[in-house]
Amino acid sequence: MDKIDKQDTPAAARASDARPVLEGPDIARVLTRIAHEIVERAKGADDVVLLGIPTRGVFLAQRLAAKLEQITERKIPVGSLDITMYRDDLRMHPPRALARTEIPGDGIDGRLVVLVDDVLFSGRTIRAALDALNDIGRPRAVQLAVLVDRGHRELPIRADYVGKNLPTSLRETVKVQLAEEDGRDTVLLGAKPDAAGESQH
């Protein structure tokens, strides 16, 4: 359902007007940096579990895991955390199709969970993710990694690892495209199609 929202025709038309702010090689470089930061901050990343937030956060988490595995030469548990049923705006839209929540086999109790998402905006998605985590287990600590932080927080939430800080206006949209889902890697900054349009992030 998310996919439909983001690719419906008016938005797609505007997307051509949008300006890339990160291209494929930039994204790869940024993820490599975040992976190193995680290893550094987590002192070897022994107990790290990566949980991506669907849809694109999951692919980012998988890419990060691959990079972490290169660095640490160990298997890094990676999974996904769907936050749909924890959203605070459920009553403002028709129900959305659920995405998969996949917690790695050893669970998250006592682990360092790094949540991974593509864009950090209001912070409400992360709030929902923290609630969802709470029903699944008790991590030692929770950190947040995002590809883009576009500002405009509505809750006291900040990212521990940021690919790119991107100051934006509320009239702009940030669209992350990833090869796994969209056929190419890029981050686009564009004008908001309609006031009533689905918020991107």
Binding site: M1, D82, M85, Y86, L90, R91, M92, H93, P94, P95, R96, A97, L98, A99, R100, T101, D131, N134, D135, I136, G137
Partner: protein, 325 residues
């Protein structure tokens, strides 16, 4: 999706697949330490049961509670209903208490439809079985069980039941489960065959989107799933069949018959089973029999339906039906 769930026939293929896919995610909640989601926090759901049905009521109640809804159970027995209060008055009384959804089980065919369309109340109506009409969540959980067993949990996501051959055996005439299943399985692309003595098939069954056979043995080898319906012993007294023994011999499923089914085929039963009548203990207890799974799947399906009808500001959006109606 439509606003209410009254009949399995009201679901499009996309509606049904969305419900099955959603139920698959809901099923995972059961594996977590905290089997609860905050999704319907602040919503009130009443289980309005005019007929005794502990298993359906408990299944809905478990689903509602896992989604954090406030649950009111209303059983007609010993209530004002038994003192002559009408369905309309009962429903309006409940709505005055701020009910968002009514899950209704009623002995009269069409009672949920009346409740949803007569303007008596605004709440969302979910049919938990009405007379000999429909039991849509049962059909959904049956389809869910089949998809899991025949296609697989993950492989099944997004899939319907195209090409699957399902045989429904028993008292079709008095069965809302059979009606709902014929409608839903047809929508999902399955080929349905009803097998029953002619006395237990409704006049007009020839217009249903399914085949009809009187011969169970000929149908079994061509079945991916065989659904046994309960046959009440009372039917015997109304001359629907001569004796229990004759019924079992012609239409009951025993081990020998089960052996004629393809190896992958499953045996289903909506419960409660009448062992020794339509099904032998050997079959009921075999690993091919999905009865217990069906119960567990019922909770997941009902969670999915509740979420998709009540979780947002309107029902979930899927493709609208273009044919018929």
């Amino acid at each position: 999706m439509q606003r209410h769930l009254i009949s399995a026939a009201d679901l499009t293929r996309d509606d049904a697949v969305l419900i099955l896919d959603t139920a698959e995610e809901m099923a995972r909640v059961a594996d977590r330490p905290i089997k609860k989601l905050p999704t319907l926090r602040g919503r009130t759901v009443v289980n309005l049961f005019f007929e005794d049905s502990t298993r359906t009521r408990i299944s809905f109640e478990a689903a509602e509670k896992r989604l954090s809804a406030d649950v009111i159970n209303f059983s007609a027995k010993g209530s004002s209903v038994s003192k002559g209060e009408s369905l309309k008055d009962t429903a309006q009384t409940l709505e005055a208490m701020g009910v968002d959804a009514v899950v209704i089980r009623h002995g009269a065919s069409g009672a949920p439809y009346r409740l949803a369309t007569s303007g008596w109340i605004d709440a969302v109506v979910i049919n938990a079985g009405d007379g000999t009409h429909q039991h849509p969540t049962q059909a959904l959980l049956d389809a869910f069980t089949m998809r899991r067993r025949l296609t697989g949990r993950d492989a099944g996501l997004g899939q319907d039941l195209s090409g699957r051959r399902v045989t429904i055996v028993g008292d079709v005439l008095h069965s809302r489960v059979a009606r709902s299943n014929v409608d839903l399985l047809h929508t999902l692309g399955a080929e349905v065959t009803l097998v029953a003595p002619p006395t237990l098939l409704p006049v007009g069954v020839e217009s249903w989107p399914c085949e009809v056979s009187y011969d169970l043995d000929a149908t079994l080898p061509k079945s991916d799933a065989v659904m046994m319906l309960r046959v009440q012993r009372e039917r015997m007294n109304a001359a629907f069949f001569p004796t229990e023994r004759e019924y079992s011999r012609r239409y009951g499923l025993d081990g020998e018959r089960m052996a004629r089914m393809p190896e992958h085929a499953v045996v289903m039963h909506p419960g409660p089973m009448v062992r020794g009548m339509e099904i032998t203990a050997e079959v009921a207890d075999s690993p091919r029999c999905t009865v217990v799974e069906q119960v567990a799947n019922g909770v997941s399906i009902r969670m999915a339906v509740l979420y998709l009808l009540l979780g947002g500001n309107e029902p979930a959006v899927t493709h609208t039906r273009t044919e018929e109606k």
